[in-house]
Each structure stands twice: as C-alpha cells, then as structure tokens.
C-alpha cells in the first residue's frame, strides 16, 4: 500500500509531522518496518524517517558513553571507541543480520522494534544502559530494562523518540561476552545471552546476565546473577547458576525452535559465557 514519506532534518520538525498525522510512524533504517509493511502486518499512512537527523547519529564518549539511536549497526561493529569502551556491544553488532542489513539498521531501530530477539539489547542490559527518550516537552532517561514491556512493545508513547542510549563506563575489572545461537550464522537468535562479570580473585563481585529470545522481551536474569555473586565462583556455583538460568527464562516453542531446546541453550550459553570470561578469553 502507498504511504507518504517524510525526511525531517530535526527532531522538532519530526514532532510537528507526527502531531499533524497521528497515524504516521517513525522509521530509521527500515530493516524491520519495511519488512512488516511488505508482509501487510502494518499499514502506516505515513513514515517519518529519522535518518536525516544528525543529532541522533552521534557517539560521545565522555564521563558516560552516549550512543545516538541513529547510529548504524555497522558503526557499532567497527567504531574504535565503541570497540574499546563496550566491546560486547560491537560483538553483538557483528552478529546482527547480514552486512547489508548492518549498513542501514540502527541501534534505535533494533531497540524500538522491541523484538525479544533484538541482538543489541542483551549487551546493553548487562551494562545497565539507560534509554534517553526525547519528547516535545523535554528529555528523560529510564533504565533500558524497563524500556521493553512485551513482544514488539516498548514504553514509548506516541510522539516520543528514543534519542540515545547512555552507559556509565564499566569498572576496569568488568568483562563481558555475548553469545548467540542461530540455525545458521546469519539468523534471528534462537537464544542469545550477554554476561558481564566483575571478579575479585575467585569471587564474582558483580554479575549481569541478560537474555534474548528467551522470554517475551529482552530480559535480565536476576536470580542467575544473584547465584553467580553468592560466593566462590566454582563449578558447583556455576551448575546452580546454570539451573537458575534454565528455570528463570520463559521461552516459547515456535517454527524456529522448541522451548525445551531454548531453555537448554539458556544454561549452556550461560556456562560457556562464564567460563570464557573466567579464562580471560574475553574482556
């Protein structure tokens, strides 16, 4: 179906367009929105492209890391500052879609699509990232963990725009890794897991575990985190953490995989991630 296409240069202009047409929809790279339009799943009367708004495409590394929502996935994969500050995000970016998709898809699009399998969500969740939401009346920041409210649903109200993701710099001892299981390499995750650990000798002082495709939205596995930090991080603790991860996730069975396999993957990927972090293979 035909639709109008707007390409504002500023957020203010975007808001004016959105106010004028309540049925218009924001779009960035379009790699999700266009697919859904073609499949007839959504029929917006107009698209408001955010890709010309240069403010949204900035990366600022200062006291905090601020990544504009319009930053391309390929940029997250290759940008030296991001690779240095948040290597786990680059790692996940490199596993998202194909080269062509990564060249147009954006960070904000991946998050706002709010798919349970969003590859960029788990690595940001383990960094306690905040979502910066811009509205006509000003900006606010909320924890990314509360941004997702269900499959393809976020907290964004009409007219609100995810403008950036903000991350406090990780502690010097923090290490994180992202693991993803697909049917082939270029695939939607059947299950994905990001794990961040801060360790002090044999003890894990801080743990963050976030899962993709293992529940209605990208989610933190807080019980698993608690076990990982409960004492000496030995095989027994890891086994308990693995069991916790398997019971904490809420996977579904669909055409891609069964819930049992996904549940198994939650544990398998957790153990693999933790072991690789403890072996120092990742930073």
């Amino acid at each position: 179906m035909p639709f109008d296409y707007h390409r504002p240069a500023t957020l203010e202009e975007a808001w004016r367009l959105a106010a004028a047409d309540p049925e218009a929809r924001f779009v960035a790279g379009g790699t999700d929105v266009m697919v859904r339009i073609r499949e007839g799943k959504i029929t917006p009367r107009a698209l408001i492209s955010l890709s010309r708004i240069s403010d949204l495409a900035r990366i600022a590394i200062g006291p905090t890391v601020v990544i504009g929502a319009g930053v391309r996935v390929a940029e997250l994969e290759r940008n030296a500052s991001i690779r240095h500050a948040l290597p786990v995000l680059s790692q996940a970016a490199a596993l998202l879609g194909s080269t062509q998709i990564r060249n147009v898809a954006t960070l904000g699009g991946n998050l706002c699509n709010a798919s349970p399998c969003a590859d960029l969500a788990p690595p940001l969740l383990v960094h306690d990232a905040r979502a910066r939401i811009a509205t006509v009346s000003g900006a606010r920041e909320i924890p990314l963990a509360t941004f997702f409210v269900g499959p393809r649903a976020s907290v964004l109200a009409p007219g609100e725009v995810l403008s950036a993701v903000v991350v406090d710099p990780p502690a010097p001892t923090a290490r994180a890794v992202f693991l993803k299981q697909g049917r082939v390499r270029m695939d939607i995750a059947l299950a994905s897991l990001a794990v961040l650990l801060e360790t002090d000798g044999q003890r894990c002082t801080r743990a963050r575990v976030a899962a993709g495709s293992l529940g209605p939205c990208p989610m933190r596995l807080t019980e698993t985190e608690a076990i990982l930090t409960s004492g000496t991080l030995d095989d027994a603790t890891l086994a308990r953490a693995r069991a916790a991860a398997e019971s904490e996730v809420r996977p579904i069975s669909d055409v891609r995989a069964g819930a049992d396999y996904r549940r198994h993957l939650a544990g398998a990927l957790l153990e693999r991630a933790v072991r690789s972090l403890l072996n120092g293979a990742e930073r």
């Binding site: 499949e39 049917r183 082939v184 270029m186 695939d187 069964g258 396999y261 993957l265 990927l269």
Partner: protein, 799 residues
Amino acid sequence: MRELRYVGTDAPRPDAADKAAGRAPYIHDLSRPGMLFGKIKFSEHASARIKHIDTSRAERLPGVRAVITGENTPELRIGFLRDNFALKKGRVRQFRDEVAAVAAIDPDIAAEAIELIRVEYEPLPAVFTPEEALAEGAPLVHERDADGRPVTTNLLGVQVHHESGDLAAGERASKHIVEGEFSTPLIQQACMGTAGCIAEMDVRGNLTIWAKTQIPFLAQKDFIRALEAMGLSGRNARVIVPTLGGAFGTGLDTHAYEHIAILLAHRTGRPVKVVYDRREEFANLSPRQSARTRVVQGCDAEGRLTFRRVEVLQDNGAYTSWGATYPTVMLIPATSLYKVQNVWFDAKLVYTNNTYAQAMRGYGNPEVTWPIECLLDELAEKVGMDPLELRLLNRNTPGEKTPMGLDITTCGLGECLEFAKKSLDWTNKRGKQKDKRRGLGVASLVHVGGSGRIYRSDGGGVILKLDDFGNVNVSYGGVEMGQGLHSALTLGVAEALGVLPEKVSINPTDTSTCPWDVGTHASRGAFIALNAATRAADKARKKIFALASEIYAAEAKKSLAAFQKKNPSYQPPAYDYAAAARADNLELEAGFLFPKGAPDEPWLKMEIGKVLRALHFRGAQGQMIIEEAFYEPPSTLPDWSKGVGNMSASYAYGVQAFEVEVDTETGNVKILKGVSAHDVGRVLNQQTLRGQVQGGLAQGIGYALYEEVKTHEGRVLNPSFTDYKIPTAHEMAFPVDIFFAETNDPAGPFGAKGVGEPGLVPTAPALANAIYDAIGVRIHDLPITPEKIVMALKNKKKG
C-alpha cells in the same frame, strides 16, 4: 579421436560475464508491449467446498482488465495424472489452490484486486499425513480420478515394485542384519529466480509463452492441449525459455500459474505476466517430496551384503506432479548401490491435503541413499569392520549387471572411496577423535550418468548452423538453468567441429527453432546435447570437406598468389593440390581448414569463414552448412511393475566424506573438511564441473542440516528465508577436496557422464555417519538440527 584442445580445460562459462554484470535477462526483467500483470487468489483452506466467489469489487477496481475463476473459464486439467485444474471449481484440496486470478495494468493494482475478491468456503474434513490418509474411513482427497471413475482410497495408482533373487535366502545367509526407518522433509528448491512466465496470444489464437521450464517440448504439448480445451484446436504453443535463475526440478511440470497466464492473455488479448514473489514461491510452488523409508539389509560374517529390503511411503500432497515417478529413480540406489543380490523394493504415494510436491535434484535418490548409507555404518559396526572398508568390499565394478538390470559399463567408485580415505587420513582418524568430539563419515552414490529413460523417447536433437563469418550457432532444445550446459556445449562443439570456442554461440531455447528434446532432467543435458552435437559436427565436417575439396585447390592458389605479391622473393614448395584437396585428406582444426600433412605454409591454411563464404557465393552451386542430428541413447524404458530395465546408457558413481566437530552443548555441527569425489567419465570443463559439485554440496548440506518446509495442517509456516534457512558462505567456509575419476565411458560424449545431480545425493548420510563417529548419536529424521542433536544426547544420557 583427435587430441583434445578445449574439452577438459577451465575456460570461463560463456554466460558468466553477462550474469555477473546484471545483463542476463531473467523472466523478471522481460516485458512485452501492452503487457498486463497477473495475480492469483489462493485458497484459505486445506479442504473445503467453495460456496461462492464474489469478484464484483475486484472487477470495478480501475486498472483491472480481467477477473477469472473456474466458473467463467474453460476447464484446464493439468498434472502428471491430470488430477489438477488451473482454476478450482467447487472444491479446494490444499491451501495453495488457485481459486481466482486477475490481470491488471500494474502489479499493485493486481494485488489490491486480489484482496477485493471474497470467497465463501464450507470447510471439509482433511488428512495431513499418509497414515491418516490410509486409515479406514479417511476422507478422500479425490473422489474421482481424471477419467471420472470413482476412487476408494487415497493411495495413488502410480506404484513401483521390485523383487529380485530370494529375500528369505538372503536373510538366512546373513550373519548380521540392521534395520531402521529414516525420513526426509519437504524441501524448497530455493531457486535464485522465482517462478514466472509471460503468455501472449496472437489474433489467430497462437500462443507464445516465455516460461521457466526444463521441458520446453513437453510443455508445448501441455499448452497445445490447453489451447484445445479453450476451443483453439490446431493452434501452436511456442515455448521460449529465458535466462533461468536455477530450476532444480521445479521446471519438470507445467504449472497452474502458467495456464492461468494463458487464460488471462486469452481473455484480455494482451500479454500477461505472472511472477511469484518469494513468499508465494515458498507457499505456492511445489517443494521436494517428503519420504519415510524403512530399510533392512544384511551381510555375512565378512561384511558382504546379502540382501536389502526398501519400503518407501511418500506424501504426494493434493495433486500429482512428475515427481510421482520418484520411485523409478529410488530403485537405482535400492538395487545398484554396492553389490547386493536379493532385493525387495516397494514405494507407495499417498494423497493428502498438504501442498502437492514435485521433483528436485536427485529425484528420489537422496531419499533412499540416506537410510541405506546410514545403515551400512551400523552394519559395519556389527561386523566390527571399518565402514569405508565395508564399502570397498561391496563396491560396484565395471561389467556388472545389477538386480535392476543396470549395465555398469564403467565405474570409478573404488577410486573415489580410495581418494576419500587418503584425503581425510581416514585410517588414523576415524573412530579415534571422540575425545575432541570429532568424527569422520563417508557415503557413496549411484545415479544415471547417461540420461534416464522415463519417457518413450529419451532423445534430443542439435542443429549446427555455420555462417559466412565462421560463427557456429547451436540450437538445442534442452535448458541452461545455471548448471553450465552452455559451457559444456560450447567446448564440445568447438572440439568436435574443429573451430575456436569463441566462434560458438548457443541460441536461446525455443520450441520454434530448436529440435525436440525430452527435457533437462536426470543429469542428462550435457550428455544428450553433446552426443547429438558431436554427431551433427561429424556430418558438418563431412559436408565441408566434400564441398571444400572442389574449391580448395583454386582457393589455395589464389592465396599463394596474394602471398607472393607481398613477398616477391618467396618460392613455394612443390605441392600436389589435387591429392591434397581430396575430401578424406582435409582437416579442420582451431578454425582452419588444411590438408593433412600439409607443409606449415600460411597459404595452405584456410580460415573456416573464408571457406564458408567461398561455398556460399558459388552462384548456382552455392551451399550453406547447416546440419542436425538427433540422439537417442541406448537404454530401455524399464518395466515398472517389475522394476527392471537398463534405464540409462551409463551410471555415475561418487563418494562424499566429511570430518566434523560437534558442539555437544549447543548441538552445532562444524564441518572441518569435506571430500566430494565423482566418477564423471570425462571432465568437460574443469571450472563448471567444480561449480556443479560445490553447488551440489551446498545444497546437500542444506538438506542434511538446515532445510525443511514446515507445515501445520497443510499451511506452510516458514514461507521466507527468515525461517527457511539455506547455507550461506559462512556455512560453506571449510576446505573441500574435489576429485574426478575419469573412467572414459564408451556411451559418453568424449567419455563423459552426466553429473548434474550427484553432488547432493550422499551428503546427508556422510554427515550423519561423521556425527555418529564423533558423539555416538544417530539422527533418523532430516534435517539434523542442533536441537535434535541436543535432545538425542539428553535422551541417551537418560538411557
């Protein structure tokens, strides 16, 4: 034979540059003046009565030129058993049934019009598995056959059965017996270019159709029949084949969408194009048949095979394609893969309300090779023998006549097995890397290598037309669909005729200009085309030599005079022109005509174009060189009720082997190295052949590890590449050791056998055997997904 100049080289394919540059015109690129766009309304039920179709809103949409249904068009029966209709009237039997169609001035309007068509259905009972369909009192998918006779079962009348030797005696002679049931899923051919056609009718009712077909002449027959049903008796259907982006068996039947395009073109008087988008292709184009196969086989104490029993049950879907003849090819591995006497084979096809299936590369062979080769490893384990040695012990050999009556003229299976053994360091590695969860596996194949006779003629013709400039235009009725037929044909014609390959061009396949050919299937393209072409080339050479002998002396003397004018001091050697110019003394090589044994003098060598011009411009004696030959291979149409007959002029053997590493936590299978070794008779083009083998391997790996059309109550659940996964470059990033055994088959052109399909035949069992070697788990149902591996390991642990 003269020494080969071009055959066996790695010359680039003639179609490669245009394809790489985006200039090759696929059906998607073609347009005709005034062309309309057709679109089909598909059923929303797997089984239902059509109560009413309301097309009024679609008809009123501006830009719509025609809306047709089964009610307002002539009934066009299609399909191998003529159990299908272009447009369904009163009843749908599968989700993809065509209930209406529109033609509009652009594709968007056509799509909108389709949405405006309202169909009222009354759902009817349905069956979705062969078991359900065969159960007592099961609803019938078809109440009557094509002749209107009532039917009482969902079992198809097409049956292939074979019994040879004495099965009971074979069992008694066995020390070890293994058995198992194995399945293969529905597979999408996943052609790069989706299905489509353009149908155009002239005022007199003659049809021209640009069709994505592998069988231009059988399609012509189908379309002429359709014209007759439309009241256009005596009219012609001309089939033109554009550049094809892969076919893999999807072009072995004519389809409802093609007949709908014809009906729309007839209704509107305008050319009509119907092209499937990817979603339509996945949901509405027939996939490869699924199969469930039970195999029992035994061996004596030394590992010699004693008997084999193969029982196949196939879900045919709601209608019947040529794919229903799968069992004819299944017989080949069942009876002739390794030396085995005492064979029992039976195949049953059952109607269900699932999407109807059609052929794909390998044509039943992979479905049966899969269980046979998996169970051979189980047999070897029982004997306590290395599985590769067991295969060597039972390998086929030249001169053998198999239980099916196949005459094995040449056979390189032993060489291929030895190559795999060496390439993978088999003896040192097999069974010895379980600590690393690594394993080795091997499987073999036999397939028709000299075409496969399943029609009353298995022939094909070639016309060679030489022009005044020494160009050779080749007309062949078979189809280049990406496999490299034109590459083989170019080199073979140049070789056989004695001209440069760059002077050879292959005409587009067109039933009006090309000689008859049964179709490009059964790995027969290059085999048939070159057998015909070399015969036509022989005729052309004879004619050229006979005519040239009349003019050679005079022409050579003219050349000498011209040469002497430029080189006044030149003294030619004495030369007997009369003797030299005898027809049986002339030779044509690399585009030059000259007497055999002639001194190396430029004026004695005549460029072929010059010769042809001299023959053309001879006043009343002027002649053109146009020759044809039709080749019918020396094979027999088997008696299918007995499953016996030498259906091919030669047989291709081959072996694939892999080293894999299995991640037991995720279930991922990583291929560390692959071997693909094939008895090809003779390499026609190194580069093209390697491409064939690599492509077959990729497709085989997809079949083995990733691919499956998933359905629920007849509806396709994964109609896109998002959820139908094929291997990409990443999955193929492992070293492949390719080997060609050149057995020089007497029936083959230059000794070559067909090798189009073999590349994917043994892939799945070779991988399954490697996975078993690595982790001791065997999966019986393809694809072998990580999920199945993990679940099997969990079950094994539970014991």
